[in-house]
Symmetry: C2
Amino acid sequence: MASLSVSRPSHIFSGRLPAHSKPRMSGPTRIRMSLREDGPSIAVVGVTGAVGQEFLSVLSDRDFPYRSIKMLASKRSAGRRITFEDRDHVIEELTAESFDGVDIALFSAGGSISLEFGPAAVARGTVVVDNSSAFRMDENVPLVIPEVNPEAMRNIKAGTGKGALIANPNCSTIICLMAATPLHRRAKVLRMVVSTYQAASGAGAAAMEELELQTREVLEGKPPTCKIFNQQYAFNLFSHNASVLSNGYNEEEMKLVKETRKIWNDNDVKVTATCIRVPVMRAHAESVNLQFERSLDEDTARDILKNATGVVVIDDRESNHFPTPLEVSNKDDVAVGRIRRDLSQDGNKGLDIFVCGDQIRKGAALNAIQIAEMLL
Amino acid sequence: MASLSVSRPSHIFSGRLPAHSKPRMSGPTRIRMSLREDGPSIAVVGVTGAVGQEFLSVLSDRDFPYRSIKMLASKRSAGRRITFEDRDHVIEELTAESFDGVDIALFSAGGSISLEFGPAAVARGTVVVDNSSAFRMDENVPLVIPEVNPEAMRNIKAGTGKGALIANPNCSTIICLMAATPLHRRAKVLRMVVSTYQAASGAGAAAMEELELQTREVLEGKPPTCKIFNQQYAFNLFSHNASVLSNGYNEEEMKLVKETRKIWNDNDVKVTATCIRVPVMRAHAESVNLQFERSLDEDTARDILKNATGVVVIDDRESNHFPTPLEVSNKDDVAVGRIRRDLSQDGNKGLDIFVCGDQIRKGAALNAIQIAEMLL
């Protein structure tokens, strides 16, 4: 993942399904339609990171149109070369001036970079799609999952000279709400109890490398290298490394609580979450228990999810085939399974579901680029 | 784990804490008090398995008294030698006659072996402590966690010539109820939503070996060997491999639902569970959301748990130190942390907790031997 070419992670950590939900042209007959004069000028901030690399991957996969692309990173990476869509690019150091003439900037370089350079970009007329948590709860900033609440950003377009900020939700929130929202629309979720199984990728490329390194070390009987996390990750799991607040929830859990309310525009929805890191590379899983206002039987729920955009149902009880992180790795769709009536609730007002989604893709880069597509 | 000596698994999969809650004597000054004429005659059924091996480990650690011990296994293993407490033993083939003169038999050889040989042992006056699910829901068989419901077996003693069956609960149930019961006693649990993070060991020693082998293969870029499970386990997780029933719950989940009711002698308690296997060796974790009848604030809950037998509280918010499977591996106590008021419930009637326990030890062998101790 440290490589600067736009490559997939090693196949060993990929699932068995075809790589993309969307059919792709390939080989010499493919005509690149993405580099074109009527496209926006774009910038990628944090291009050397796990999500930054995935931005490039997704832009290319979706033939996102652009007339120019700037690769921005810290001073440390400036001057290095990067190949994107068969062209060489030089990574530039991020400054406020980087955004002169940029229509859309995709940010994934951490909250402090977003806080510093996001407003500078907006002041220059750039629409910023920000993957950090810096602006998510700002009431003037839309927090958007395109399949869920596209209306929140309906007045924002690129290339008008008018800058704006749009926040990409937290990965766990996106993956959870991709599955919960179609059910919420039908039966109204009153309360949601979420337990997560979160991948290394949420802590960045270095965390993925540390998991792999530690696993090798442990198998060789060596003490594991603990730089990113303060404890052994290989063959272990632990409470999410985000800071724990005075109410006992960690920040990751509170994102699920608060972002759900904002995205659903429903301050009454009750959410609790327990966020756990598991030794998996790049896709999150979530066990979600739902309480509804209105009845919703499991067969209807399954049909609703089968028809939901960006969702695939994997729910084969007979062969015990349900979503796994590996199977959704490098995939666009969020997979849902284990759909069943909750025995602990009366009637048909409760469901249990199990959801998996690629943390780097739909949990971050894909969602941001879907937002960017709505700006065109 | 396939070794027939009574050894710990490799240190690489063990936690950092001292190995046992209970202080041990060691070295040449230690006097063995376990082999003695006034102890019961015991038999271990399934002695070559992961739990069978742990039976021996725990018997030795706790200086369980015995005047003789029979090592029983399938015909395939019969004749092999096994060293236990510095003496050589020959593994015998399990037959109905094996139980002649045996006071206590510890069974962990799967449900069908228990169904076939459990009653035969009882007929010979043996008290059987059975780790399988064969008799758990039989209304004539006590289902016991010694810290929770010792009264369920108060009329059963060893060496009286009167045989009996006692069932050891499912590992996930034991670990969950070790933490939930002290809170239940104070505030009465009305509903419990459980999501598990289950280790390889629950599927036996071969599953632990497969996880290790697959991990090596995946790191070398080779396809993973899938014999025990039908899909990649290394760097992945999946819905528990138990059969899925017509209500959509798998058998493991229904054990949590039904065994809780029986152990608490409370047919009204509402439980739902989602059981997931994670790539961890030998300790389970569980995220448990609790709804109470009466108020219970988190500080009181923490104090109750600190004073509960067999429970250790690891709940350091500042340093983000909470229970992990690795830290409880090879330990007796169940660890509880992330104790906090559930924001999604009104008042003080809801709590979230996170529990870890060694699946082979308290989840199986230790609990069974604690039961056996109560027979003396």
